[in-house]
């Protein structure tokens, strides 16, 4: 049987992941956020959440992670799954009927992330609001949510010692070259002109480079690339 591990309760665990979820809720206007991943070696579900402690307690005590459709169906999707698609699955009601009394909305969405080693992560967000508001919120934040989900997942994976040894960012020549020009202070437009490629191509390589380096901003990506010796300081 799978165990559910609240990573924030591990002694000496740093709280940056829960803080990341808090920040995410603040900036993207959600009530709650949670992240879960299945550890294929230990067979455990590991996660973080900023739900009320009594909901986490209830969820853990009842072992709801064993039937929670947001985890078990969510992981098989490649695109974000609105929970309204899961309402008719066998266990949705048994998991979420009690949720409102713990201040948790059953209006939510799960963003699945697939990692390079068959690993996967699930970032879920909820918000208690009307349908129309929910739809417009989704439209507004979907891109940011995708980026946040991959960022969270990659950082959790890299924080794990076993995974960290496997993780070597494989930057392509183009990605290194573009990051090098960024390090030297060139704008995306300049770089496009220098390399005779469209600024859109510059951008797609930059996004990919950021993702591989586990960075949210280009400045962060340059910093990490420099520290890994992939790019010379500008």
């Amino acid at each position: 049987m799978m165990d559910l591990i609240d990573l924030s309760k591990i002694p000496d665990a740093d709280d940056r992941f829960v803080r990341f979820l808090d920040d995410l809720c603040q900036t993207l206007e959600f009530d709650h956020a949670s992240y879960a991943t299945l550890n294929p070696v230990l067979g455990t579900v590991q996660g973080f959440a900023n739900y009320r402690p009594d909901w986490i307690e209830h969820y853990t005590r009842k072992g709801l992670h064993r039937i929670d459709p947001t985890l078990h169906y969510g992981r098989k999707s490649i695109s974000p799954v609105d929970w309204d698609r899961l309402e008719r699955t066998p266990h949705f009601r048994s998991v979420f009927d009690d949720a409102p009394q713990f201040g948790v909305s059953d209006r939510g969405m799960t963003v699945p992330v697939r990692g390079p080693y068959g690993d996967f992560g699930l970032l879920s967000v909820t918000r208690d609001c009307k349908q129309q508001e929910w739809e417009s919120l989704k439209k507004k934040v979907m891109g940011n949510l995708q980026v946040a989900a991959v960022h969270m997942h990659d950082n959790v994976m890299q924080s794990d010692l076993a995974m960290a040894t496997l993780h070597r960012p494989a930057l392509s020549g183009r990605e290194c070259e573009i990051l090098q020009w960024v390090a030297e202070g060139k704008s995306q437009q300049d770089i496009g002109d220098i390399l005779s490629i469209s600024h859109r191509t510059v951008e797609v390589h930059l996004r990919s480079g950021r993702s591989k380096l586990g960075a949210l901003t280009t400045a962060q990506a340059v910093g990490r690339a420099v520290s890994l010796g992939l790019v010379k300081p500008g």
Binding site: P80, V81, R114, Q146, S198, K212
Partner: protein
């Protein structure tokens, strides 16, 4: 008409997906000569086991005539695991906001017979692309990298859908070459595609309409067993349809009712025995 399938709804559409695997055999093995694995007439590989999304196009008669497969680039996908040759040994892109499109094809034989308009090659190609881009946009995707052959590349350039760049270089693959094309998943590109193809409607068709069309193609039964008044009514509805969409809906209704009656007939004869 387009149906999007994924791990959450595919149990309801295994027969449509099966037809898609057969279409892929005709295209990638028979026509393009790619080294693909075909089992019982169906082409599918390890990436089909990773719960991808399929964008599947059906013509008005309910035949599968086009498809595309989508995977995230953050996890295992074809350019990282199989097609890396195209990238000249470079590692592939990896981004939360880039999806990979592979096995993009249309049934050129069937569509060439149909000639122009709604069932033409360029119409179905545009329909699949519009569906993929709109579906991607709703999921927060900004770009797609597509593994395509030069013929598909030309069709796309001529349909207001030119890639903005390519990764690596085209590489021989069977009888043709394969290349990795970059396309922005933008409102502007969807608008260009819609202008070119003059597709104005929502291309994602409700599942029940797709299913009825698909099932009626499998059962090209007459409606003879229906009560005469009902049969006349349904035939009139089909004849009176003002647009192709209305006609599809009328045919779907007729098929649903015919199937319902066939089932009841079956039950009656069972109870007699």
């Amino acid at each position: 008409m387009i149906i999007v399938t994924d791990a959450l709804n595919r149990d309801r559409h295994t027969d449509i997906i099966d037809e898609m695997y057969r279409l892929r055999t005709r295209v990638f093995q028979d026509r393009l000569g790619w080294d693909v694995k075909v089992t019982d007439g169906r082409e599918f590989d390890a990436f089909d086991a990773l719960d991808p999304v399929y964008i599947i196009a059906l013509d008005d008669d309910g035949h599968v005539v086009g498809c595309m497969r989508l995977l995230q680039t953050t996890g295992p996908h074809m350019l990282s695991d199989v097609f890396h040759e195209i990238l000249d040994g470079e590692p592939p892109l990896r981004s939360a906001q880039v999806w990979e499109a592979t096995r993009f094809c249309v049934d050129t034989e069937r569509l060439a017979r149909a000639g122009r308009a709604r069932n033409s090659i360029s119409y179905v190609t545009s329909e699949v692309m519009i569906a993929a881009f709109e579906y991607g946009r709703a999921s927060g995707i900004l770009d797609a990298v597509a593994v395509i052959d030069p013929v598909m590349n030309r069709v796309m350039i001529r349909s207001g859908n030119a890639p903005y760049d390519y990764l690596g270089t085209a590489k021989p693959m069977g009888k043709v070459t394969a290349m990795a094309a970059l396309m922005d998943c933008s409102e502007e590109r969807v608008a260009r595609l819609r202008d070119f193809s003059d597709i104005r409607h929502d291309v994602l068709t409700p599942e029940n309409i797709v299913r009825a069309a698909f099932e009626s193609a499998r059962k090209p039964t007459t409606h003879d067993h229906l009560p005469e008044a009902l049969r006349t009514y349904l035939e009139e509805q089909i004849a009176a349809a003002g647009s192709a969409d209305e006609q599809t809906a009328a045919k779907a209704l007729a098929a649903t009712i015919a199937a319902r009656y066939a089932k009841e007939d079956g039950q009656k004869s069972q109870s007699v025995h």
